[in-house]
Symmetry: C2
Subunit: 155 residues, 2 copies
DNA sequence: GAGCGCCTACTCGGATATCCGCTGTCCGAGTATGAGTGG
DNA sequence: CCACTCATACTCGGACAGCGGATATCCGAGTAGGCGCTC
């Protein structure tokens, strides 16, 4: 999986806590990652409609809707793409013993199981929202650290 | 995911039905794929202990144990490796607002959810065996085609 | 005819090129801000 | 004092290189089977 997914998720959590637009450069510095590359991930989030960008001074990114309405799956699919990891190439229709297409009404059993596993994976990500992540961070991090981070973001 | 996973699974199903060792070249021709590259996947299966190779004339690959004792997850992990797709880089410990390591007793919430999803995915693959796949192929494919394939393999 | 040795052909195994996608970077388009100026 | 204009600096967005891993390939090591020779 693309490593940018992790960055995108962390950025969404940060944006959830920030009340004002946050520039990509500040998010990059906060996480100590490449600003240019993080910008690309944020653009993907923007194209997916999860975040909205504002240009000019005091501009930046902010969430388009409440964090409770954004799932981890939304972010993952925005950055990694919605296509499943496994793609059936219909091996059974090739070679000297190829199954004729009219006999392939039912999908390949292998593909079916793979799709089932993929759905289970996605479902696990769909039931967790950015708000859930932010809440867990809030409860497990000392308040002093959170306040410092808020102040640093606003500065 | 590596495309060779699909080939490896199909090969295991074929080996399940074949009573004698099958050479890699024959498996490749049957599926109409690159013999050299398929050989690499079979070597991975061999290293994982799922299949056993026999050299010399009338040699080839055969399963090391009953197909009911080999899960799809075994094959997937043998070829794609056992490491999860998502790897947490501990972003929270970096940057100006880094969380001190002693405060990181609990894993990053994002990583926890990702690991949970990964376990769900693997569990979906663990409950299906090669024997299950072979049984489904047997019931959904016309007997005449199956017999032709058997004969072609033995020839 | 039986046993032995060798030879051949076939098999796998690992080392070797090639290509595509993720990673990382840059510069141009667009806009909110703020100062400056005129009424 | 207010409103308008403009210059500025900051923002995002898309286009451009670099590298690692998956893809694809090849040749050498090793072995089972078969043939021929000898006894």
């Amino acid at each position: 999986m693309s490593g940018g997914v992790e960055w995108g998720l962390h950025c969404c959590v940060v944006l959830c806590g920030a009340g004002e637009p946050v520039p990509a450069a500040k998010l990059a510095k906060l996480h100590d990652v490449s600003p240019s590359y993080l910008a690309k991930q944020l653009q993907l989030l923007s194209k997916a409609g999860l975040v909205r960008s504002t240009q000019g001074q005091s501009g930046g990114y902010r969430l388009t809707r409440d964090a409770a309405e954004i799932t981890m799956l939304d972010v993952v699919e925005a950055i990694d793409g919605p296509q499943p990891a496994f793609r059936c190439t219909e091996v059974r229709r090739r070679g000297p013993m190829a199954v004729p297409p009219e006999r392939c009404a039912t999908p390949c059993p292998i593909a079916r199981v793979m799709d089932s596993a993929d759905r289970a994976w996605r479902e696990s990500l769909r039931v967790v929202t950015i708000a859930d992540l932010a809440a867990e961070v809030d409860t497990t991090t000392p308040r002093e650290l959170l306040d410092r981070a808020r102040a640093w973001l606003s500065a």
